[in-house]
Subunit: 339 residues, 2 copies
């Protein structure tokens, strides 16, 4: 077990001060007028023995950790998992590591996690924030930490965020159902005051109202345990036997909804037409396949990391926060629905 080399070992071996080594390794040789000769000698030796500076020591001194904290609702949800994956790739390419965690949409858990991230001196934060976290985020921002939100934003908080056009997405999907001739369209979603959910509900309501149809919104309490989501769904179907189409507010609730429909022997789309927010394999492979509102996952991840890197590279920048709103894609999978 060879002990790791430190900058002092290198300095001693080459009879040079560690300051010089440090300057050379940080590309400040020119600026500090270190002779090319010496630079070469040092670089050669460093490569030879494979010396790597201790990043903890470096972080302690410089205050930068080259780490980004990523907080999503649940890393095992395919939507967040794929965004996390894309962010991870881009971050590594730019020399950043990711520390991630799942908030479960739980405010106090999230506060704890922010504390951990702070303590670990992450350089920047990417998060899909839960409700009630406004003050904590504001305090991060006040302390000069770059914060980029995605999937939703916090109305009072002035920071960058990337999201999609939720209102139009559900409006458009609902209109699509109406055009297909459905009259009793329900919207089933998680109970939430978050911006993305509020907008999704509003999009749906705007659409049904514009056609003089009745609005039926069912809100379900978020729960980790899938069974706890399915219970109220069963009730919903029993209480609303005349529903002919449903729009689900997230992939998770859409999946649970399909499971319950299976249980109850209700076929999509012959018995009840279904559209879900967030597209993924379950909907594509369902037979017949389920129409879904696909979020531009790559574009979201790209924008998130681009904006964050910008802030990281130009800390002082007081440019006003960017709000990027991306379009979704309604993937219509059953053109022959009802008519």
């Amino acid at each position: 077990m060879k002990k790791k080399l430190s900058i002092v070992d290198i300095a001693n071996e080459l009879n040079v001060s560690k300051t010089t080594i440090s300057f050379i390794l940080n590309g400040r040789a020119q600026e500090k007028r270190i002779s090319n000769e010496l630079v070469e000698r040092v670089m050669k030796y460093v490569a030879e023995v494979g010396y790597k500076p201790n990043s903890l020591a470096k972080s302690l001194r410089t205050g930068k950790s080259n780490t980004i904290g990523l907080m999503v609702e649940d890393i095992s949800n395919p939507f967040f998992a794929s965004i996390a994956r894309l962010i991870e790739d881009r971050a590594y390419k730019n020399g950043y590591k990711i520390i991630y965690c799942s908030t479960d949409n739980d405010t106090s858990k999230t506060q704890d996690l922010i504390g951990m991230f702070r303590d670990r001196h992450v350089d920047g934060y990417i998060m899909a924030p839960p409700e009630g976290i406004e003050e904590d985020i504001e305090s991060l921002i006040k302390d000069g930490m770059p914060v980029v939100l995605f999937d939703r934003h916090l109305p009072g908080v002035k920071t960058d965020f990337i999201e999609i056009d939720n209102l139009f997405s559900t409006y458009n999907a609902t209109k699509h159902l109406i055009e297909q001739g459905f009259k009793n369209i329900a919207f089933v979603t998680f109970a939430s005051h978050q911006t993305q959910m509020v907008d999704r509900v509003k999009g749906y309501e705007d659409a049904v109202k514009s056609d003089g149809l009745k609005s039926t919104v069912k809100e379900i309490v978020f729960n980790q345990d899938e069974e706890q989501i399915m219970v109220p769904l069963r009730d919903f179907f029993k209480e609303n036997p005349n529903i002919d189409a449903i729009l689900f507010g997230t992939n998770h609730i859409g999946t649970c909804g399909l499971k319950v429909m299976n249980e109850l022997g209700k076929k999509a789309p012959t018995d009840i037409a279904v559209i879900s927010f967030d597209d993924y394999d379950v909907f594509k492979l369902h037979s017949p396949p389920v129409t879904a509102i696909a979020q531009p996952v790559e574009a979201i991840a790209d924008n998130v990391i681009t904006v964050l890197l910008e802030k990281l590279n130009d800390r002082s920048s007081s440019a006003k926060p960017q709000s990027i709103v991306l379009k979704t894609d309604l993937r219509i999978r059953n053109s022959s629905l009802k008519k």
Copy 2:
């Protein structure tokens, strides 16, 4: 932007040496005979101002970072995502953070990532190792790093691992198909020399041979791009028109397989019976639902973290490595297959 308090600030404020503060905060007051009076005064002040020790400085001095490096094949794969989620929870509860990354089963990428983790002084490693990484893992172990492998292991490398009984799982699934009366059963999987894949193939082959049936194994090159997986699958179906049942080696390939079957208008299970490794929503919700080999995800995550925490708490322990092999569950979803 109030600057963060350091231990020196606390010491000065209370007119005590920082050593004393450190002892008290690390629960060594008794041992170092610090008076209860002083302990209380310090604790009260620390709580009041919300002082939190700088973990970077702490790590630098102690060599421990309270971080675990988690390397999976692909964090956006539901199998790995759910294991990651469970490991995350357990790790946080025990005061550890997770740094994660996806290896893509790429050896040199993984080597890079190990380098990063090393550099960040992670306290332990959890990984689903790619091929060809034996030496790197051995060098980690030689340097005293706790390493726990899962999903597969490296035959020559003596370290703990958690996996499932792959051989029996595919043997059993194949037998099940045979019992249903299928005669032309194919096994479609990723090309790999990894232990889990080798065992899965062997389990299949043992089963078909034991009944004197023909073995048809199709190996597909792993690729990030789904289309690159579907091309050889299409070929496979065209070249083997008399196949009446397929066993897919992973959830990913199973999902792609179903997509291709959809394209080609082949129905599961009426045209071709299907069983896939790794159970998830896509298989549960497929109509009719697809039989799958479910891995005990919670048990895997539990065992992984338990073994790692044991090693972390007892570094010197030279107890010989544990090999834990868990059972899978064949979730039969179409009892009325053929007969």
